[in-house]
Amino acid sequence: MKLPVMILAGGAGERIRDIADNKPKVMLKIAGKPIVEYVIENIINIGLNDIYIVTDKPNYFEDLSIKYGKIARIDIIKQELPEIRGAVLSAKDVISQEYFMLVYGDILAPKQFYSDVIDAFNVYSKPVMALIPEEDVTSYGAAIVDSKGVVGKVVEKPKEVLPEAYAIGGLYILNKDFFDVLEKSEDMGEALSEYSSKRSIIASIWSGWWIDVGYPWDLLKAIYFVLKGLDRTIISPKADIASSAIIKGPVIVEDDAVIDEYSVIKGPVYIGKGAYVGNYALIREYVDLERNVVVAANAEVVWSCIQDKATIGRNSYLGFSVVGEKAVIEPNVITLTLLKSIKEKPIIVKRRGQEYAKLGAFIGASSRVRAGTILEAGTLVKKKTIYDKS
């Protein structure tokens, strides 16, 4: 099928700015790959290969057209106008086919999310929009669906919870004539409502895992689903694994990673290129150590996402936490992870028959947490700052 795909990769990403710093948030990494590459690979895997990435920072994306050049054609389009409306209109002129697929680049979901929308399109030959049954639609945008499964009113930025609404899934198949409606509308929501009243957008309800990466803790959900899918251990022959290290469960270890004496790795875990795991360190399930991350001797890490070049100091304990690029956690830093009330978005885990609501700390890019600090559950360390226990 010849269906061009428009991936929206711009957006300020304010809510995750401390972790992403200047980078587009879709370039944050999960298990060795930027988020946007998961989107691209899913699209290629359902048989589409004509891709346009719309971004306000094109230089971050140039390598992608080379990396995927053999299997897809990827063009980078500069976003000229603000908001989603502006991004879509920026790519208006490159779409020559009658229908096109529109994808938000910060959505992580399995391949079936995309193929279901194609299925609906093939069956009904009408525009389609993916919707998610989320209670709190205020973070995602909201859409009402009628009893025939057709989208009614769409609100891009709902101010309150709408009891009958679904969250916008960030995946559409639209006809080219949508651009005309969008140009005359204030925002994407208004345009979709108007367009559906004429063309009937079919709602494709998606029930599987789906993550809109907006907040730092969304990365914790993302590593869970991505690493849960691991079914084997792959260790690069170029990695340096000490004979006394214990590696259990599905684990990926990339080139030049070093796993030192007596460390214990309990998968599913991802250890990126050039990462270092020190003596006696304990790396527990759902840990993602990106490129050149250092986990020093005796440190313990569980269910955390650690971006490139960050350091976890000796004797530290880091759980249910996200660490931005180049952040330094000095020795003896402890994250407290047990939430007393469930007001944040905790991770619910079951251990020894008991359920716990857990959430650790969010440590900004290029920040520094002083030795001996105890970080309360849910602490945010702003980027490029020094966090002292006093």
């Binding site: 079936q112 009904y124 969250a167 309800i205 029930s207 619910i348 359920e355």
Partner: protein, 613 residues
């Protein structure tokens, strides 16, 4: 349970290759079985090609090369192992020693071991462990007498004991598919285009190509060519085919997932449409049944699984609204009424497929006792409707998810309508009150739509916690008891969590002993006389640390204030609340199933239509 498809085409009648049409039809039958797959095609040079393998259709269709083969006559099969483990050799079709005859079969041949022994003595060589293979050799054996394939099949049928739906092709008589049905379902599809004929286990298999069908009866046998159907009953002779053709109003989209991740989710979302189609389809038969009820002294209701829960709701309403003695029983438990069921008692048999063997057996036995039989089914002309004195149909469209959803709500809607009408006829309800109540029923499709929209996000959210549990109770009083039973059944069958339903008043007579900190207890509260009484039951559970989830009318603040999680439902009259109030339970079961990593459309150990006792 297995799925069968057979197709005969004349030259140029279809654009695609026969192999790919077989593959597509087989994919629609996958819910009936999915451990191995195979096909046999007679190509345009009249050669017989047989390919088969263990595995699911999508995984092995390329390996088998479905799409590479063309021909005029083909049969295919998707298997759910009963005799012989899933393997390449045990996959259907099975062929005879001469490699001319290919057979696909759904069902169980009870006397296959003795038949096999006799055939072995006569020198036949068997390659599989299946009961099916004897059929191919049996036909081969009778053909040695010099008779044609059809006569040989007829002869073979006389020796087969058990349940079967068969499709047979023979290289010696290309261009024909021979078939026979006993107990296991089989349907003929007459192609929209001239020169195409289908035979299959059910209608959705070929719905993309035709909606003109003939549903076969037990004991019927015959063959199809690309343009003709020959049909006869093994005891009663030739059948007039034209009188038997039915047009179904199902669309091909109905039998596809069409953008939903699972059939079950699609079918949950289709309920508003299924309910309004069922209301629109109410006609003279429903009126007749209402009259029958009004004039009956005693009404029995029977069904299995979800259909039994619909029977329980009807039982309550018959007693409560019509004031008639009514008893619902589980179809396989018919035996307990064999002495008491009497001439002119009414038995209402409820079965989605109309083929459920337990229900069919109860129908036959009650009929022998002189009872009047009324069928409620979703499949026109299926076995139970045909053996009943009167049949009323729900119009839910094909239901493919193994867990019943839209067929349950449409059954309840149809039964509620009929019972209100019966109450009017009997003088229990005034004409004014009746029309008020029927007006409320007309609003149910819209109310269900709103209910799905409001409850789905909450059900999805709460499922991540339910997924961690190993047990649950579903409690209610009055009409909420069958709703609770249906909710518990849904959770058991697709999320594999042990769940029990009890009348809330019964819970302290035993079940409460299991309740401890965090034990999930679902309470269903309707706008009836029990809505305040049940508060004490919630308190009992709460005192023991139970995790309480309440489905109740939205203004029932008292109940919500003592619950951990609330589904705030539309307030209606209690008898109309049964339909919307099951929605959150369907959604909870669905989302819990996928959170636990299961496929809700293909629950382990379960089949959509149970055709063995």
């Amino acid at each position: 349970m297995c799925g069968i498809i057979g197709i005969v085409v004349s030259k140029g009648a279809i654009k695609e290759r026969l192999g790919s049409v077989l593959r597509k039809c087989l994919k629609n039958l996958e819910y009936r079985g999915y451990d191995s797959v195979g096909f046999a095609i007679i190509n345009w040079n009249n050669e017989l090609i047989v390919r088969k393998s263990k595995g699911k259709i999508d995984e092995i269709s390329r390996k088998l090369g479905f799409d590479d083969y063309d021909g005029h006559t083909g049969i295919a099969h998707t298997r759910w192992a009963t005799h012989g483990k899933p393997s390449d050799v045990n996959a259907h079709p099975h062929i005879d020693c001469t490699k001319k005859i290919a057979v696909v079969h759904n069902g169980v041949i009870e006397n296959y071991q003795e038949l096999k022994r006799e055939l072995l003595m006569k020198g036949h060589v068997f390659t599989s462990e299946t009961d099916t293979e004897v059929i191919a050799h049996l036909i081969e054996e009778y053909k040695k007498k010099g008779i044609g394939t059809y006569e040989a099949l007829k002869e073979a049928i006389r020796h087969l004991k058990g349940a079967y739906a068969l499709a047979v092709i023979d290289k010696d008589e290309p261009g024909k598919i021979f078939f026979a049905r006993n107990t296991s379902p089989l349907v003929i599809g007459i192609g929209k285009n001239e020169g195409v004929m289908f035979i299959a286990s059910d209608i959705p298999a070929f719905l993309e190509y035709t909606n003109h069908v003939i549903v076969l009866n037990d004991g019927e046998i015959g063959f199809i060519t690309s343009s003709q159907v020959f049909l006869e009953h093994i005891n009663y002779g030739i059948v007039n085919v034209n009188e038997r053709i039915r047009v179904v109003d199902w669309t091909p989209e109905m039998a596809k997932k069409a953008g939903y991740p699972h059939y079950m989710l699609k079918e949950i979302h289709e309920q508003p449409l299924a309910l309004s189609s069922t209301l629109a389809g109410i006609g003279s038969e429903a009126h007749k049944l209402a009259e029958l009820i009004a004039s009956s002294k005693y009404v029995y209701l029977t069904g299995a699984g979800t259909s039994y829960h619909a029977c329980l709701i009807a039982e309550y309403l018959l007693n409560d609204l019509v004031g008639i003695k009514a008893t619902a029983f589980i179809a396989s438990e018919y035996g307990r009424f064999r002495k008491s069921i009497a001439r002119n008692d009414l038995l209402i048999a409820v079965s989605q497929s109309g083929e459920t063997i337990d229900t069919l057996m109860a129908v036959r036995r009650a009929k022998n006792k002189g009872a009047i039989i009324a069928a409620i089914s979703n499949v026109i002309d299926s076995a139970i409707p045909r053996e009943s004195h009167i049949a009323v149909y729900t119009r839910a469209g094909p239901e493919i998810g193994v867990a019943a959803t839209k067929t349950f709500t449409t059954q309840v809607l149809l039964l509620t309508w009929i019972i209100i009408k019966a109450a009017e006829i009997k003088g229990e309800l005034s004409p004014k009150r009746t029309s008020e109540m029927l007006d409320l029923l007309k609003k149910i499709p819209d109310i269900v739509n709103t209910t799905i929209r409001i409850t789905e996000p909450s059900a999805r959210k709460i499922s991540s916690e339910i997924a961690l549990k190993t047990n649950a109770y579903y409690l209610g009083r009055g009409l909420a008891v069958p709703i609770s039973m249906e909710g518990a059944l849904k959770l058991k069958e697709i999320a594999y969590i042990h769940a029990e339903a009890y009348p809330a008043g019964e819970s302290k007579h035993g079940p409460i002993a299991l309740v401890e900190e965090g034990f999930p207890v679902f309470f269903t509260i309707l706008s009836d006389e029990y809505k305040d009484l049940i508060i004490a039951n919630i308190e009992e559970m709460r005192a023991r640390g139970a995790w309480i989830i309440t489905v109740a009318p939205k203004d029932h603040e008292k109940a919500f204030s003592i619950s951990s999680f609330a589904f705030k439902m539309p307030r209606l009259e209690y008898w109309a609340e049964t339909i919307p109030y099951i929605i959150p339970y369907q959604l909870i079961a669905y989302y819990t199933s996928i959170t636990r990593g299961y496929d809700p459309d293909k629950p382990r150990n379960l089949a959509k239509t149970v055709t063995v006792e």
